[in-house]
Amino acid sequence: MTDITLYHLPGACSRVVMTALEQCGVDYADHPVNLMKGEQHSPEFRRVNPRGKIPVLLVDGELIGENAAIQWWLDKAYPEAGLLPKSANDWDAAQVLSDLFWISSGWHPSVRANMMPIRWTTGDPAPVRERGKELVKPLVQAFDARMADRPWWYGDDWSIIDVYFYWNYTTAEEGQYDLSGLDNLAAHRARVEAWPAFQRALARENAARERMANAA
């Protein structure tokens, strides 16, 4: 049996990986890394991941970093979980990677500017947040437009990409981005929130939050 450990932070984009693990139905350990307390810089965590980032997955002692790469690996390792659409050829596979990398390199840094502007400046965060909102706007609008005729990003079938989008637009909302008026996005949001693997991931995040609070 594969020994899997997820290093994560409740509420961070590691929630997407946790949902993926729940969807795969595998046993895994989870270790919250308290970024607010700087635990990502601790010698213990640096031994796991010298780059000091979450999420990372330890698979039988081997490290995989970067959210998009972890999702891709889980899909290869657990194809029956349906994390990503089946690719008939290299072209299909490239389109899925294009979506994954679009979210990780396009959406996530923009959402971060909106939600955590302090991470993008040593000065006044307010104008960074304003800029973040400008960057997020065409992304959520494009998402809303595509969802007009389908329940999930790829059509009739759920994929982990739906949860990755969900994490980005709800995190933008936490950064005071107003999602009202985006009705297709709102319907998508309700579908993701009703997805069993997503609900199990939230419950597991809550348990990790309690452990963090008790340790503090």
Binding site: A68, A69, W73, K76, D90, L97, F101, S104, T121
Partner: protein, 218 residues
């Protein structure tokens, strides 16, 4: 049958990496420069190909593929003999290659953008964004420099296209006034990249296409 390839690129953009990859494959391709200053990325024709209005976009047998990292992986699958990435013995190996690409796209590239064009990250004073970008970038360079102390290229003895993506980050941070001289292994890695004939060919083609575009404006 050879693929019909058209690359949409911009002068000094990360399409330098895509072009180097194409040069390594040896595949024939048409190069179309997009003039961002003239708004050529927002024309209806271009937005039909790439709704994001970004480069690169590689049109493969008439079908557009966007996102540099996905394009590099497609080229690797279509031209395996070019060895754009190391051989992968397992899905885990391949995931590690994807993770390096992922961090280039999601961490390196946005940090370099904060250094080179900090005003793109704020409606206010860009100085704080630049300072923060430099802080993040120094951490990235420290880590990479220590990795490059142990190996010539980022994955080991063999060049991969990820190496050229790092090179692109280096020179763009330098355009933003960043001093790279404290990182000696990075300096050596940069020089090794610049010694690649495929990289030099990509730069020469880019410059020629850029000059032709500028001359057409006169």
């Amino acid at each position: 049958m050879p693929h019909d390839l058209k690359l949409f690129a911009a002068y000094t953009a990360c399409t330098r990496v895509t072009m180097t990859a194409l040069e390594v494959t040896g595949a024939a391709y048409d190069l179309h420069m997009i003039d961002f200053h003239a708004g050529a990325n927002r024309t209806p024709e271009y937005l039909a190909l790439n709704p994001q209005g970004k480069v690169p976009c590689l049109v493969i047998d008439g079908q557009p593929l966007t996102e540099n990292l996905a394009i590099l992986r497609w080229l690797h699958a279509a031209y395996p003999e070019a060895k754009l990435f190391p051989a992968a013995d397992s899905a885990l190996d391949e995931a590690r290659h994807l993770a390096v690409l992922g961090s280039l796209g999601s961490v390196w590239h946005p940090s370099v953008r904060a250094i080179k064009v900090p005003f793109l990250w704020t409606k206010g004073d860009p100085a704080g964004v630049k300072a923060r970008g430099e802080e993040i970038y120094r951490g990235l360079l420290d880590q990479l420099d220590s990795e490059l102390a142990e190996r010539r290229w980022c994955f080991g003895d063999e060049w991969s296209i990820a190496d050229t993506y790092y090179w692109w980050a280096y020179i763009n941070s330098e355009f933003g006034g960043f001093d790279l001289s404290p990182w000696q292994n990075v300096a050596r890695h940069r020089a090794d990249n610049e010694a690649l004939p495929q990289l030099q060919r990509a730069l020469a083609k880019e410059r020629a296409a850029h000059e032709a575009m500028e001359a057409a404006k006169q």
